[in-house]
């Protein structure tokens, strides 16, 4: 019995060393994201794809590293950076002052806005009627912050899709989420009763790559890559690939 225990703990120790070795391998760049946010990141087959995955691939290429993508909850991306489990966070993440307490950001690569999804037969038709209603969001996203300005009743889901499903089922009055994602989910659900409100002015938001504090060289390198793909048209090509309609979010 004791021997078995010893062997078991030896095996566990070996496994632990192996996995840690893999995680800390120096020839990889680990990107953390939440693949529930199409078209910026979503799962296709076994792989995480999308605008952010392609941008991260460019960053890894310039660094001469192999890109590894870890799919996690959105509200875990910054904590994972802080604790060193991932190298970069590329998750359609908006640069916000609150986030600067924990991470640094690269130059921005996309200008997005929030959008408000409602039911056509629902009671929300504009900014005034949105106030005080039950609003669904994805926990920790900028939509979550925006919703707090309109209502006390904010329901925070792990994924935007769950919030939209609850809206479709009549349990919520509105969902606030990044505009490209909102459009994508509505298209995917193919539900005529769900519409985007176009009469609420949300602030401009800029996506950037997040990096743990104290890594200026990495930020520098990411900025160089973003500059490069902006200038040589790679970024436009990536955006065009994932936004079939002309990119009008800018």
């Amino acid at each position: 019995m004791k021997k078995g225990l010893k062997a078991f703990s030896l095996i566990m120790a070996a496994l632990l060393t192996l996995t840690m070795g893999a995680a800390l391998a120096e020839d990889t760049l680990t990107m953390g994201t939440n693949a529930e946010f199409p078209p910026f990141e979503f799962v296709d087959g076994d792989a995480v794809v999308g605008v952010d995955a392609e941008i991260a691939a460019e960053i890894a290429k310039d660094l001469g590293l192999k890109l590894v993508i870890e799919n996690m909850a959105f509200d875990s991306v910054i904590p994972a950076l802080v604790s060193g489990q991932i190298d970069i966070g590329v998750a359609a993440m908006t640069v916000k002052p609150e986030r600067l307490n924990s991470v640094d950001f690269s130059n921005t690569y996309y200008n997005a806005r929030q959008a408000c999804i409602v039911r056509k037969d629902g009671k929300v038709t504009d900014e005034e009627t949105l106030k005080g209603t039950a609003i669904g969001v994805q926990n920790g996203t900028t939509g979550d912050y925006a919703a707090e300005g309109y209502s006390e009743t904010v329901e925070r889901y792990g994924k935007a899709l769950d919030a939209v499903l609850e809206l479709a089922g009549g349990k919520l009055d509105a969902v606030i989420v990044d505009a490209p994602v909102a459009q994508n989910i509505i298209d995917a659900l193919n539900n005529d009763n769900l519409i985007l409100l176009d009469n609420i002015e949300f602030e401009d938001e800029f996506y950037a790559v997040a990096v743990a504090k104290g890594k200026p060289e990495l930020v520098e390198s990411i900025n160089k890559t973003i500059d490069r793909i902006t200038e040589d048209g790679t970024l436009d090509a990536i955006l065009l690939k994932y936004f079939p309609v002309a990119d009008d979010a800018e």
Binding site: P79, N101, S102, N139, R156, L165, G169, G170, K213
Partner: protein, 256 residues
């Protein structure tokens, strides 16, 4: 409070620059995750929801569990088919054989998919339905642990089988089952944490919420964890007292 705020203000610039010392960053974690913006209220409100859901689900689970246990042991039949026993057995098997998280998601997005319902209610239903299956098995064990002679004695006294169960067997069964039942309630309190999945702001979701505002890797979970631990510790102490009292009546009974 103003003192804590001023300490933080003195640190903030260096926090953004990323040059805090070890102890300073510990203070930053505690300040951001518990003190600032009255965040401790988020945990306390979450704790209240957790306690409400746990208490109501425990009551619902106990009532349904007793009914299931009696059904499981019932001899009611159509021809040879013991239908009550069969239904209870299947229910227990399905609930115990599938993850509680799946049951919750099916209840929230399926059964109540388009019904506007308080999330606390959905939580009570989901946790109660699940707990009932475990309670049923605990009660059944308790009933079966009561000596057969007790039933025979009751029937000899002229009681119906229903009255024997109600007056003689069931009180003894409940006493035998009490420690396990209390354990089940403790488990239930912790399992309500899965309600975070359906956006009910209980204690775990409160930690998720704080974490999404402060970006701390784990401090909010530690704080929530300490609160669960406090509640469970108090309950465990209470159960120990209860068990001691029950044992006192045991020694009295053995002197008959």
């Amino acid at each position: 409070m103003a003192l804590f705020d001023s300490w933080w203000n003195a640190l903030q610039e260096r926090s953004v620059a990323g040059t805090l010392s070890f102890w300073e960053s510990i203070y930053k974690e505690i300040y951001l995750n518990f003190l600032s913006d009255a965040r401790y209220m988020n945990y306390l409100r979450g704790l209240r929801v957790t306690l409400i859901v746990s208490a109501l689900a425990a009551l619902f689970g106990l009532a349904l569990g007793i009914a299931l246990a009696l059904g499981r042991l019932s001899g009611a039949r159509i021809g040879r088919f013991k239908y009550l026993s069969w239904i209870a057995g299947k229910y227990i098997n399905i609930i115990r054989g599938t993850p509680m998280l799946l049951q919750l998601l099916i209840i929230n997005f399926g059964i109540f998919g388009s019904v506007k319902m308080d999330k606390i209610f959905i939580g009570v239903i989901a946790c109660g339905l699940n707990s009932a299956a475990y309670v049923a098995e605990i009660i059944r064990g308790g009933i079966q642990s009561v000596d057969k002679g007790q039933v025979e004695a009751g029937r000899t006294l002229g009681l119906t089988s229903g009255m024997t169960m109600q007056l003689i067997v069931f009180p003894q069964a409940l006493k035998a089952a009490l420690p396990s039942l209390c354990n089940e309630f403790i488990t239930l309190i912790k399992e309500t944490s899965i309600l975070a999945y359906i956006a009910l702001t209980e204690l775990t979701k409160a930690a998720d919420y704080i974490r999404s505002r402060t970006y701390s890797p784990f401090m909010p979970y530690i704080i929530s964890g300490l609160m669960y631990l406090a509640v469970v510790t108090v309950l465990t102490k209470g159960i120990a007292v209860l068990e001691r009292r029950l044992r006192q009546s045991d020694t009295g009974a053995s002197a008959h």
